[in-house]
Amino acid sequence: MNQRAPDIAKGTDWLLIWIYLALCVIGLICIFSVEYRTGDNIMQGLLGFKKEYSKQFFFLGASIVVAIFILITDSKFFTATANLSYLFGVFLILVTFVVGKEVGGSKSWIPLGFMNLQPVEVCKIFTSLAVAKYMSRPEMNFSKPRAQIIAAAIAFAPAVLSVLQKEPGAALVYFSFAIAFFREGLPGVYLTVFLSLILLIIASIVVKQNTLFVILTILAIGFVYLVRKKIKRNPRIVVTTILIWGLCVGVQMFLVPALFEKILKSHQVVRILSTFGIDDYKFKNKERAAEIQREYAKQGTARDKGVKGESYNVKQSKIAIGSGGFWGKGFLQGTQTSGDFVPAQNTDFIFSTVGESFGFWGSVLVLLLYFGLMLRIVFLAERQRSTFSRVYAYCVGGILFFHVVLNVCMTIGLAPSPGITLPFLSYGGSSLLTFTILLFILIKLDADRQMVLR
């Protein structure tokens, strides 16, 4: 390969780049339509760096510059600096504790003057690299618990720090590394346990405490009864069953109530409850109950109107998307968008703009672009020769998947609103730059897929 004049085009997956650009442009259009009011001077607005669409425009420019730099960087650079960059990322998060700026209740931003940087966001890149680096070690055996624990530690350390910064939404995304782990041979039992746990938690929220306790007990006794013949040969089954039963009951009777009563913030509780349509959760602590009631009132739920608990944001978002119909109201014709009805429409709820202006077909088109992007990434991952590239690709795919699914589900009322962005569409330099770098490192690695990287 010609070292002096690297050919960007060679081996580069242009499909990814086109999808990327398409999404970024759609994002710009959406941000523009949120902010634009009849009579605004478009050119002045776009170049003025005052409006958010103007800022996003410049962020996109900067991102493209960064992307080009990545494409002309040697792939080895990423493997070489993976661990170092990870340390740098963690350091950035730690720095935030000192110089952090509070935005919307969480102190996780570093002000840079022209933009605010969210290290947790950026750290996804470094974590992906670090995870890929660790997983691609030649002596790596992922079936060993030691390897599993280290990998998990790498992946979740920033998440833990993020939770400490009261930004649990951003931390949630770090679960996406599970997809990469799963591909690399994480034993199925983990996933089973994990999914069971989620199921159990949901059940403890939805089903009444005592009812669930009875159900769990019946399940346990039933299981013992079914395997009663095996018990004679292997009495440990009973012990294990009792242990599992005890664990489940512990989660159901103590952990979940503890989460709701003490650990989670009241707005998070309300969000979670409203997603499941529950509005009669019994709080033991009177003060807590009152607090939750206030939070309900604050979020403007429509409980009194007979609609099951639904937070104001989600309700407005659903109205905006639902009112789009099949064909949408047309560009700049959205009444909910121009009327500012959906809060945080530029950032977390940008998808509602798509839904209102371009309707069902527009929404599906955007989703097709996203899922096309993800499936393409999985495809690229599988054609890599080096484990590093493959793991990294899965990390990117997983992160995108989590962001897109959680964000879109939030806007259409299928998931609680954890406050995570929609990649490439949401306004914000931190987010756009992060996803650009994530994606273009992958494109670069893919372009060099003939090399074996470690």
């Binding site: 591909r183 119909g325 009444t335 009327g339 500012d340 599906v364 899922f371 699914v405 259409i412």
Partner: protein, 708 residues
């Protein structure tokens, strides 16, 4: 190793696709299947602002607009946007002080806490303020704007009782007219013609479809106004009212209580309908509406009462004309039948004579001319005791049927609301145990009815209509104000006024006989003082005795007439309540002046002094005057109270300002005080420092803090 797990990539893909499908299904549900979100979005963002069309106008017989519209201007404020304006300058423009400004702003904010709900800062601003504000409004842009609002004007300041007034609809009104698309804040006709023709006057509301944001701020027209609906202006009404005559009548009735009703007998159209005392109709429009209403409503003279239709009196001698018609038609007398009066009616025995004024012998014409009570007592005695009826019940009911045919005892159906039905007794009425009971009454029981006293009760409108009936010789149209509606009478409101009513067939000769007598009234009878040169007037005076809570009050002066006899163009009646004296004293001159004004368009110079005298005579009944004095003193004492309170407050304020020195004074005082204070503190500190220096320092600090 990678190959080992390759199958898992398929699972990852499947998970991706599954998530995608779940999202698409939910999107399909939200956007395509469920329609409620589109509806909610409209509720959110679309504001349908009603556009009120102008109300219909009302024209008089000379095609002058007697009820018109004009624009008034309200100053509207959006409190949330009023930050940072030059309040002092604004207050100077509005001629208010800053306290008043703050007071109004607080009120505006109380109405709506977000502060984005527009609030009327001042309604119906004066032209001078309007001019000043308009020039400077840009300084207060987005916080203040001027909005126009149509209101009623009355170019001739007359006819308040005919037109009635419009008012803001209240919850009762909304409940009553749920199907008619009113919303609170709308104005609707509450009384008079405004109320009875509300449906045509109001027109159809338009709608302006506007876009608003989440705070309710208007963003502009929705879809460029393509969904807007223009309103339909209210229909104009054409009447036969003569506004000059109306004004003239109101002037003649100054300082009198009563009414005048003038009808065109050929059409039943009302020419003038005066109810006195009245008020300037423009008082009940515009900003001061409520205040004026609160003043008019408790006024003991009851200016809001339309006496022409909503007051009923014994008709007095005007009733005699009808008795003549009945007796002649029944054949119980002829025009030549005579009765003598020796000073009283003794037909019912000596115990209860009914006095008459001029003793002598009368036949019909002279009896009407001189209004002989005895004559008509005999006449009615014959009518009631007519042998063709088996008993008094049937004869009285037959008599009642005559009265009903003449338009008495029931509502005529005029298009001015609040009409009363008056009262003509029936046999059942007297038979009721509450009255006399069956068999316990005869003609003598109610003989005073023969001269229009006693149980009979009529409204001025009914008397005027009865004149139209006599003038027409046997028919009438239901009296009405509105002749036609612009664009046609789609609701059939005028149908009943187009039907000629011929209740019974009475030959013209009988009417001629009555006309003779009525003409005699003017030529040499009870109304001779009111003769008008060049016009043959047929009239009848009435002097109505009346009682208030059993106490006899001064007589009502009645007069009814029609003219000219040959071709009647006006049937008219006037009542002056509690004027004392006779029908010929006040009501007759007023009616004659009205007739002259109507037919000749002016009043002859010769009769000007009479006109002067009528206008200047104060005939407000003494009882009413007493009430007014009472009201005034009450009002005055209330005003005194307020004044006293204000004075007290002022005194208090000055006291307070002495109690609470200004900041400067405080500073000076402090300067004076601080020295000795310091000294004592110093001493204290020295004293206690020896005991516990740290503690002392603390306490002294606390002390100074409190002092500050």
């Amino acid at each position: 190793m990678p190959v080992f797990n390759q199958s898992r990539s398929r699972i990852v893909r499947l998970v991706f696709i599954a998530a995608f499908l779940v999202i698409v299904i939910q999107l399909f549900y939200l956007q395509v299947i469920s329609g409620k979100y589109a509806r909610q979005a409209d509720e959110n963002a679309i504001f349908r602002k009603p556009v009120l069309p102008p109300r219909g106008l009302i024209f008089d017989r000379k095609n002058r607009a007697i009820l018109n519209n004009t624009l008034t201007y309200d100053l509207i404020v959006t409190p949330a946007q009023a930050k940072g304006i030059d309040t002092a300058f604004f207050c100077r423009l509005m001629e208010i002080d800053v306290d008043e400004y703050k007071k109004r702003m607080t009120k505006a904010k109380q109405k709506d806490r977000t502060g984005y709900l527009p609030y009327i800062f001042e309604s119906s601003i004066t032209p001078a303020k309007y001019a000043r504000l308009n020039e400077n409004l840009w300084r207060f842009q987005s916080a203040f704007y001027i909005q126009d609002r149509p209101i009623r004007t009355y170019p001739f300041a007359a006819g308040a009782n005919i037109f009635g007034y419009t008012g803001e609809v209240d919850s009762n009104y909304l409940k009553k007219y749920t199907d008619e698309n009113y919303i609170s804040g709308d104005y609707a006709g509450m009384t008079g013609i405004e109320a009875s023709y509300e449906k045509v006057l109001r027109g159809e509301k338009g709608v302006q479809v506007l876009l608003r944001d989440k705070l309710g701020r208007i963003q502009g027209p929705y879809e460029n106004g393509s969904l807007d609906q223009e309103g339909v202006a209210g229909s104009n009404l054409y009447t036969s009212l003569d506004i000059d005559l109306q004004q003239y009548g109101e002037k003649l009735m100054t300082n009198k209580v009563g009414s005048i009703v003038a009808i065109n007998p050929k059409t039943g159209s009302i020419i003038a309908m005066v109810s006195s005392p009245t008020y300037d109709p423009s008082l009940l429009t515009g900003a001061q509406r409520r205040k004026h209403f609160n003043e008019l409503y408790p006024d003991p003279r009851k200016p809001l009462l339309n006496r022409a239709v909503n007051a009923s009196y014994s008709p007095g001698s005007t009733f005699k004309t009808l008795q003549a018609l009945v007796a002649l038609h029944d054949g119980v007398i002829t025009t030549n039948t005579t009765f003598s009066c020796s000073g009283a009616f003794y037909g019912c025995g000596g115990g209860k004579p009914m006095g008459c004024l001029d003793p002598g012998t009368y036949y019909l014409r002279t009896a009407i001319t001189h209004s002989c009570n005895t004559y008509f007592a005999h006449v009615m005695q014959r009518v009631i005791n007519n042998p063709k009826f088996p008993n008094i019940d049937s004869s009285l009911n037959a008599w009642n049927a005559y009265m009903a045919a003449f338009g008495l005892g029931h509502k005529l159906g005029v298009d001015v609301p609040t009409e009363r039905s008056g009262f003509i007794p029936t046999a059942e009425y007297f038979n009721s145990p509450k009255r006399y009971g069956k068999g316990h009454w005869n003609f003598c029981t109610f003989r005073s009815m023969s001269i229009g006293q006693g149980e009979v009760n009529t409204t001025p409108l009914q008397v005027a209509n009865e004149m139209a009936y006599i003038a027409n010789k046997g028919w009438y149209y239901i009296p009405h104000v509105v002749d036609s509606i612009e664009g046609g009478d789609k609701l059939g409101l005028l149908d009943k006024y187009k039907q000629k009513i011929v209740p019974i067939n009475i030959p013209d000769s009988i009417f001629e006989a009555v006309h003779d007598g009525m003409q005699g009234v003017m030529d040499g009878g009870t109304g001779r003082g009111s003769k008008v040169e060049g016009i043959t007037i047929c009239g009848k005076t009435g002097t109505v005795e009346n009682y208030y809570r059993g106490v006899k009050q001064p007589n009502h002066s009645f007069f009814c007439a029609f003219a000219p006899r040959e071709n009647p163009t006006i049937a008219i009646m006037c009542v002056v309540e509690n004027s004392g004296r006779y029908g010929g004293s006040y009501a007759a001159p007023i009616v004659s002046l009205m007739i002259e004004k109507y037919i000749h368009d002016t009043v002859s110079a010769k009769r000007k002094p009479l006109e002067e005298r009528m206008i200047n005579t104060d005939l407000i009944p003494p009882l009413m005057k007493q009430e007014m004095v009472k009201m005034d003193s009450l009002k005055k004492s209330r005003e005194d109270d307020i004044q006293l309170k204000n004075e007290l407050k002022e005194i208090k304020d000055t006291l307070q300002s002495e109690d609470n020195p200004t900041e400067n004074e405080i500073r000076i005082e402090k300067g004076r005080e601080s020295k000795p204070a310091k000294d004592t503190q110093e001493n204290k500190r020295l004293q206690t420092q020896m005991l516990d220096p740290a503690k002392q320092r603390k306490t002294s600090f606390v002390k100074t803090a409190i002092k500050r």
